[in-house]
């Protein structure tokens, strides 16, 4: 009797959901129309023009792409752009994961404080933050003064890739923490207790229960951070040296200084396609947790 009641309730709600879905299909277009319009005008159209110019300037053909792949510095910088972005993503993940976990475990007041700590740097201009890093990282800066005071030999931080990664990771950290937190807060912590009561060690409970459940957050955060990092411009320019120049700087140079819009466009298209390829390669990884994540 009870089972039937539940069944019928399920059927009723299923029918209602079906109706809603049908209604939704009719109206859905209008709900997404404003965002879609904005995307087409502000992203699709310019992107199409950039792509077109990369083939049409100064004449029709593949010349700009031939130039890109025929110039060693472009390839070095492209590779470096991906390497720096990967490092930044890794640093953000290592710093952000435990932080996001703590955010789910503390009381509401403490959580507010933690969220503020993440968001306040967001409200400060990127240039100001980067210049602050210059003062911290330079040879006579705060970090090296401390290192010298404790009797160690100073470290070269400013104008190195390490410096760039540190600066970029700080700017991008919120983009890692927020998606992680939004996934982690839905994980029922009692699952960990259950795993422990079934004899799992804390490490095993984490590795086999918590970590897989949090992976969607990890992928979301990692993709956002990685893609944003690819386009970074100010931070590598100010904190880095020649050996940490990223592709955006070269694009800027072609477009603004040399007025080679065709070449600039080709560089942008190459970066975009390379990003898509990388994401396509990473996609199978991100599909995995949905299979194991069915425990929820």
């Amino acid at each position: 009797m009870a089972t039937r009641a539940i069944d019928s309730r399920n059927t009723v709600s299923a029918v209602a959901a079906d109706d809603r879905r049908r209604w939704f299909r009719g109206q859905a277009f209008w709900l997404v129309a404003p965002a879609l319009l904005l995307l087409v005008i502000c992203l699709g159209l310019p992107l199409a023009i950039v792509t077109l110019r990369s083939f049409s300037e100064p004449q029709w053909g593949w010349q700009n792409y031939a130039w890109f792949f025929g110039t060693p510095v472009n390839l070095t910088v492209l590779q470096r752009t991906f390497a720096i972005s990967a490092w930044v993503t890794l640093v953000c993940l290592i710093a952000g994961y435990p932080y996001a976990y703590v955010m789910t475990a503390v009381g509401p007041k403490m959580r507010l404080v933690l969220i503020l700590c993440v968001l306040v740097p967001f409200w400060v201009s990127g240039v100001v933050r980067t210049l602050a890093w210059v003062i911290l990282l330079q040879d006579s800066g705060v970090i090296n003064s401390v290192i010298r005071a404790v009797g160690l030999s100073p470290v070269k931080l400013i104008r190195t890739q390490t410096g760039v990664v540190i600066g970029m990771a700080q700017v991008l950290l919120p983009f890692m923490i927020l998606p992680l937190y939004s996934v982690m807060k839905t994980i029922d912590l009692r699952l960990m207790q259950a795993a422990r009561s079934l004899g799992a060690s804390p490490a095993r409970a984490f590795a086999q229960v918590y970590l897989p459940l949090s992976l969607p957050g990890v992928y979301a955060g990692a993709i956002i951070v990685f893609i944003l990092a690819l386009g970074f411009y100010i931070t590598p320019a100010l904190l880095g040296g020649p050996r940490s120049t990223m592709l955006s700087t070269l694009i800027q140079n072609q477009v603004l200084s040399l007025l080679n819009w065709g070449r600039g466009g080709a560089m942008g298209v190459v970066l975009l396609i390379a990003t898509f390829v990388l994401l396509a390669l990473a996609a199978p990884l991100s599909r995995q947790p949905h299979k194991t994540g069915s425990t929820r």
Binding site: L238, N253, L256, S257
Partner: protein, 356 residues
Amino acid sequence: MKTKIGQVAALGLLMITTAALAQSKPVAGEVAEGSLKGKTLTFVSYGGIYQDGQIAALKEFVDKSGVTLLSDGPTEISKLKAQVESGNVTWDVVDTGDFPPYVYCGKLFQKLDFSKIDTSNIPEGQISECSVPAMNYGVVLMYNTEKYKDNPPKSWRDFFDIEKFPGSRALDGSGDLSGGMIEQALLAAGGSVENMTVADIDKAIEKVKSLGPDTIFWKTGADSQQLAESGEADMIAMWTGRAMTAVKNGAKYTPAWQDWLVVMDQMTVPMGVKDPDAAHALINAYVGKSAQETLAKTTSYTPIHKDAKPEVDEVTAAFMTNTPDKLKLGYQQNIKFWVENFEVANEKWNALMAGN
């Protein structure tokens, strides 16, 4: 008697023609009362104190001519290109870097009509078909006085001599090609700047690379100032304005003026502006004596009018580049060469900037 009348008549005729000529010939800094009433001009520059100073320098022109002056910026040649290509040019007078008016003369910038601009007081060699200078400054060798106490570097040759003068170096890496610096590197490498070739650029860049992996390429003026104030680099190629501010802020650095690189901004009129005459009138007013004095006083850049005597403090005066002794030491880059080889030179310079 007859001859006398003839002489008088001839003299009178001469006087009349001179007067007529004088009337049509422009005088730097002057504009006819109310001549631009109801007209609007948009002046574009790089913003900040610099553009504020330029607007202040143009106040007299605005008051007298009755023009409405709008201010826009920062100058981006790519934006100008878009305006010219679409046939909708809203920038009437544009302050640009050194090279654009040479590279894009007749393409993005109009050839100026010098019967409408009085250029008689502008320092020699600074006018081109499409531009007059907007102000002068320089790239100067600044060295750490505590590091090089008794044996200071005297010229760029010393700057590029890492054996005789050990220590770290910082160069202008703000993006634009520095032709003068490449020429100095070439000279230091034992090359000659006469009949320079593209291969010479490689030779010069090798010389820059020989300064070692710790060489700094500063990205902004503020960046270079920070390097001096914190003592991060022992020798810095610096813009004079930033060098001055660093010294004022207590940096223990001194300039070596030998072969300081002459730099200027350029005043230009884009192709297709609606009222070229009004744009020319603005430039003619801008190069005037009192306008240049106001500019120098508010920005501490060097005026481009030979007789301008701005009231500035001692340190600022020490970094003004228009005194006879400094003008003698200044080094003018071979603009013609850099314009002809703009693309290939930029490519090589950018490769250096990108660590290749």
